[in-house]
Each structure stands twice: as structure tokens, then as C-alpha cells.
């Protein structure tokens, strides 16, 4: 009993030592607060600028002297913005669906099937991760030109229909799926595609959700390739379209910031929707124990 009391006292002392008066704790919280400010400031500035008049744009005040929602009215009533928004949404959605499907399919095959050249294929896919996008746009452009894909939706989408990163991520997650699940399904009469679809994929929902978030965000914010491959304003994606608010004579920052603020809405929705599945996926359990 004495020992228990002594250890309780020691625990309380430890807790007290880790309390707010602990200098290390103060330092930790200060660093975290600074990090949070650095992260949040651009968003706050964007939201602030989106409700400012042009004359206030270069003031650093967060709260405008004369707040206005005219920028939102203007941007939303401009047909081009909604078109670009729709383009971005369509392209990001289709590319995400495609990449998640093919990345998971290839990752599964590389993980669960033994075939000649498997390691070579995997390394070849991985090696494409080392090449920066800036270097890839030239072959992409030449390819698009050859096939007549310039200035088309398909031209914007095709480089992202399958990703090396996603393949790698999914392969690693499929490693955690015990073969017993797949063999049980094989004995139960499912073919290999059905096993992948009905058994393996639901077991890697967290990875699929994370991948979907990454790919959607990557495509939603993609700028360089859509800028290069498109000429017609009606095919612009949102990031490309927003640059048209910047002309030689002036940059309409308040409209760019308004457009950017509106552009964050789908990304937030995607994150909130898929985050739920990540948590649910982690909570699932099926094996022993």
C-alpha cells in the first residue's frame, strides 16, 4: 500500500512537472503556436483580402475598414468563374477516381502476385517519382500534340490517371492485408478481380481515403500542366483561370483572393468526407485478438 501511495505521489509530481509552468512545455507550445500562425496567416489574409475594396488591398490590416461582399457577387456572377470551377471539379474528380482505381489495382498486383519482372516493374514505377513535373511536361506536350489531345479535357487529365506515388502507397498498404483473407475468398469461389474489389479494397479504406485526398488536392491546385495544354478559356481550370484577373495594366488581387477562397470549399469538403472513412477504417478489426 505504501508503495502504491509513493508511486501515485511520484506520478502527480511528474504531471505537475509537465504542467504549464514547465519551461519546456512553454517552449513547445510557443513553437506550436508560431507554426500554427505561419500556417493560418495566408488563409486569413486571403479571406481578408477577398472582402476588401481595391484601394485597401495593399494595407496589411486583417479587418478591412470597409468590408464588402461585392467581390463574391462579381466573381460568382461571372460565368467564366463557374465554368472554371466546374472544369476543375470535373477534372479533379475523374482523375481521382481513375488514379485511385488504377493505383490500387497495380499496387495489389505488385504486392500479391508473383510474376517474372515484378521487382523491375515496381522499381521502374518508383523511379518516375524522382523526375520533376517540369521535366515531364515536354514529353507530355509532344505526346498530346501527336495524339491531338492539346486543348482537350483528356489532355489535361491523362498524366494523372495513374500515379507512381499512389501505386507505391497502395502496395505498401496491401502488404498489411493477410493472404488468408484472399485465399479464403479464392476458396469461396471469387475470381481475382472480385477478391480485389470485395475483400482487399475494403481492408485498405484508410489508404484509399488518404490517396483520394492527395490526388484530388493535387489536381484541384494543378497549374503548370493545365496552363500549357489549354488554349481556350472555356477549358481553363480554376488556378489557370484566376490568372486572367492579372493583366498587364493591373492585378485584381481582390478578385484573385475571392476566387481562391471559393476554391478552397471543395477541398475542405473532400477532406472532411474522406477523413471520416480514414477513422472508420482504422477502427476496423477482423483478425485474431
Amino acid at each position: 500500500m505504501t508503495e502504491i501511495r509513493a508511486s501515485s505521489a511520484a506520478l502527480m509530481q511528474t504531471r505537475a512537472a509537465k504542467g504549464p509552468r514547465d519551461p519546456w512545455s512553454v517552449l513547445r507550445w510557443t513553437l506550436l503556436a508560431m507554426g500554427a500562425i505561419v500556417m493560418v496567416m495566408p488563409i486569413v489574409y486571403m479571406l481578408s483580402a477577398s472582402i476588401k475594396y481595391p484601394f485597401e488591398m495593399y494595407d496589411l490590416n486583417i479587418i478591412p475598414k470597409e468590408p464588402t461582399f461585392e467581390n463574391y457577387t462579381y466573381v460568382l456572377s461571372d460565368g467564366r468563374f463557374l465554368r472554371w470551377f466546374g472544369n476543375s471539379f470535373l477534372i479533379a474528380t475523374l482523375t481521382t477516381l481513375s488514379a485511385v482505381f488504377f493505383d490500387a489495382l497495380v499496387g495489389y498486383a505488385l504486392c500479391k502476385f508473383t510474376f517474372r519482372g515484378r521487382t523491375f516493374v515496381f522499381i521502374a514505377i518508383l523511379s518516375t517519382l524522382m523526375i520533376p513535373t517540369e521535366m515531364l511536361v515536354i514529353p507530355w506536350y509532344l505526346m498530346s500534340k501527336s495524339f491531338g489531345w492539346l486543348d482537350t479535357y483528356w489532355g489535361i487529365m491523362f498524366p494523372g490517371i495513374m500515379t507512381a506515388f499512389g501505386t507505391f502507397l497502395m502496395k505498401q498498404f496491401f502488404e498489411t492485408v493477410p493472404d488468408d483473407f484472399l485465399e479464403a475468398a479464392r476458396i469461396d469461389g471469387l475470381n481475382e478481380f472480385q477478391i480485389w474489389w470485395s475483400v482487399a479494397l475494403p481492408l485498405v479504406t484508410p489508404a484509399l481515403s488518404a490517396l483520394a485526398i492527395f490526388i484530388f488536392l493535387g489536381n484541384w491546385t494543378a497549374f503548370l500542366w493545365p496552363l500549357i495544354v489549354t488554349n481556350s478559356a472555356e477549358l481553363y481550370t480554376l488556378p489557370v483561370g484566376l490568372t486572367t484577373f492579372s493583366v498587364e495594366q493591373a492585378v485584381e488581387w481582390e478578385l484573385i483572393m475571392t476566387g481562391a477562397a471559393l476554391a478552397t470549399i471543395p477541398t475542405l469538403i473532400v477532406f472532411l468526407v474522406f477523413q471520416r472513412y480514414i477513422i472508420r477504417g482504422v477502427a476496423m478489426a477482423g483478425l485474431k485478438g
Binding site: 488468408d180 483473407f181 469461396d188 478489426a285
Partner: protein, 349 residues
């Protein structure tokens, strides 16, 4: 239900052969247990029967038909895995019914079949639960249910009880045995636990290093082991093995001669096996004299480790009146209960 035959079954990974010609005939409705130490090839054999491993040589026949090149789903077998392998994202109902997905039968019949199986396994009230909400034993029942629902010709069990605690294992052992008596399907059960093998099997197949050592009923492999490996593997505690020599009067072991007719040349070395149950501790003069070095009380009985002439043997003593530790005792054995093995470990009969 169906018969199962393995004929010269060989498995090789590259140039490494791990199964060296397995021959076995399993009768319709028989409960056969494969037992052996890790790496003996028992699970590989089971997986080859299931079609999860390619056959390198020989034949697997189910119901008389060679199934070597058939897909697992076309072999009319069902398998229960060590890790249960029930799908965590599906309810118990969906898990049990999973095997019927590809079956061409009306939905109402499928539902009826699921309910029947759940009732047999006492899982009806858990049908809408997810695996995470079940205990280990209940998960194992779901795995068995999924195998049962298709009414297969052969059930394959791959160490299904090894993840359960001792009490649950005993309970599930009994349930599987009752299930077999009820459904009468041919069962191949793999385990490394010889108690499971002894208690459940109609016949036991004892394997070592990719070879079958002996096939027989639990009584046969216990009382008439084919070789020293089987003799030591079956039975707990293991059979005592003593070095001896054939003499004109019998067998000389630990300085004593035990009268028993023995085939073999006088003077040749033999290994003498004595089950701990066959050694009785007596205060009077017996076959061997020795000193008690360790006692293991088990309740109803006590295992006494006795040092006889530099060789340690274990004997079962009464749990209420065990010999004192370090006491000088005598051990008696009925000569008819001695097991003799030649220099290669083959039983001498």
C-alpha cells in the same frame, strides 16, 4: 462428403523438395488429423489439397477425381484458417453467406441456409454484429460457419484453434468433434498439438521433414509407435528413451536386466522407450533405482523426474502421495510395456 487420396504427392520450391511423396487414403466421412512439428509439411499438404499451392508431383484426388489442376473453388472444399480470415467489414451474416455469393440458389434459400448454420453454431443472436464485436471463440465459429454453409465435400482446418486460450481451445475441440458427428463430412485437420490430434482424430497422420512417419488410430500411434520420433511426439510427457543392449536374458538398461524376449542379435544396442504412465514409483525394490530430482505437481498426479544411473526419466506418481524430493525411489515397469527401437529408430516388434 467424399473420399480423399494423395498419391506420391511432392512439393518443391525450385530445387528444394519439401514434401517427398506423400501417400494417403482418407475414407468418406473420416476425421483425419495431420500432426507434426513446425516445418514438417503438414500445412503445405493441406494447402495443396485446397489448391492454394501448386502440386510439383503426384496426385490429389477428391471423390475419385484428380483435382491437381482445378481451381480451389472447383474442388468442393472449404477451409478454416488459423487467423479465422473473417472479413472485418462484413457482418456475421454476410461473412457466413459469403461462400454462397457465387452459388446459384434463390436469395430466400441462401438466407435459410445462413440461419441454419448460425443455429448449429449458436450464433443466431450475433448475425448482425461485426467481427470486431465478437470474442475469439465466436470469430472462430463464424469462420467454421462460412466453411459449413456451402456444404463442401471436404473440410480443411489449418490450425484453427492455435490462437485460442487453453479453456476455449478445449471447448472448441469438443464442438468441432460434435459438428463432425452431426454433419459427417470428411475433415482434414492440421495441428501441431498432439493432444488435439489424439482427442479429435479417427486417424492421425504424423509427419516429419516432409515424410509421413505413421498413419493410425490414436490408440495405434500411442501404443504401437512406428519409430522413436512418433513415440516421443505422441504422449505428454514424452516417452522416456533409454540406451540399452540385448542380452541372452533380456534387455540390459541402466545396469539392470529386464527379462523380455527380443528379436535381434545379443549384444546389439537398442533404444528402450517407456511411457511415464508405465513407470510406477514404489518404495520397494523395482526395475530401476534412482533419486527424485524434480517434482511437478499437476493435481491428480505428480510428475517425478528420477535420475537412474545418469539418465533422467519421468514417471507419473499419485498426486496425493508423491515421493519426497531427493528421495531414493524404485521404479517398476511391466516388460510387456517396453518399446524397443533399433539404431535407426525403427520400432522392433
Amino acid at each position: 462428403m467424399a473420399t480423399l487420396s494423395l498419391h506420391n504427392l511432392v512439393k518443391a520450391y525450385g530445387k528444394t523438395e519439401v514434401l517427398h511423396g506423400i501417400n494417403l487414403d482418407v475414407a468418406d466421412g473420416e476425421f483425419v488429423v495431420f500432426v507434426g512439428p513446425s516445418g514438417c509439411g503438414k500445412s503445405t499438404t493441406l494447402r495443396m489439397i485446397a489448391g492454394l499451392e501448386d502440386v510439383s508431383g503426384g496426385e490429389v484426388r477428391i471423390g475419385g477425381a484428380v483435382v491437381n489442376h482445378l481451381e480451389p473453388k472447383d474442388r468442393n472444399i472449404a477451409m478454416v484458417f488459423q487467423n479465422y480470415a473473417i472479413y472485418p467489414h462484413m457482418s456475421v451474416r454476410k461473412n457466413i453467406g459469403f461462400g454462397l455469393r457465387t452459388a446459384k440458389m434463390p436469395k430466400a434459400d441462401k438466407e435459410k441456409r445462413i440461419e441454419e448454420v448460425a443455429a448449429i453454431l449458436s450464433m443466431t443472436e450475433y448475425l448482425d454484429r461485426k467481427p470486431a464485436q465478437l470474442s475469439g471463440g465466436q470469430r472462430q465459429r463464424v469462420a467454421i460457419g462460412r466453411a459449413m454453409v456451402r456444404d463442401p465435400a471436404v473440410f480443411l482446418f489449418d490450425e484453427p484453434l492455435s490462437n485460442l486460450d487453453a479453456q476455449l481451445r478445449t471447448q472448441m475441440r469438443l464442438e468441432i468433434k460434435k459438428l463432425h458427428q452431426r454433419v459427417g463430412t470428411t475433415i482434414i485437420f492440421v495441428t501441431h498439438d498432439q493432444v488435439e490430434a489424439m482427442t479429435m482424430a479417427d486417424r492421425i497422420v504424423i509427419m516429419k521433414d516432409g515424410h509421413i512417419q505413421q498413419v493410425g488410430t490414436p490408440a495405434e500411434v500411442f501404443h504401437q509407435p512406428a519409430n522413436a520420433f512418433v513415440a516421443q511426439f505422441i504422449g505428454a510427457p514424452s516417452m522416456n528413451m533409454l540406451q540399452g543392449r540385448i542380452t541372452a536374458d533380456g534387455i540390459e538398461v541402466a545396469g539392470r536386466v529386464i527379462a523380455r524376449k527380443t528379436p535381434g542379435a545379443v549384444g546389439s544396442a537398442v533404444t528402450v522407450g517407456i511411457r511415464p504412465d508405465d513407470l510406477r514409483v514404489t518404495p520397494d525394490a523395482g526395475s530401476f533405482a534412482g533419486r527424485v530430482s524434480v517434482l511437478e505437481p499437476l493435481g491428480a498426479e505428480t510428475l517425478a523426474y528420477v535420475d537412474i544411473g545418469g539418465q533422467e526419466v519421468v514417471a507419473r506418481a499419485d498426486g496425493r502421495t508423491p515421493p519426497p524430493l531427493r528421495a531414493q525411489v524404485h521404479l517398476t515397469v511391466d516388460p510387456a510395456n517396453l518399446h524397443l527401437f533399433d539404431a535407426e529408430g525403427v520400432a522392433i516388434r
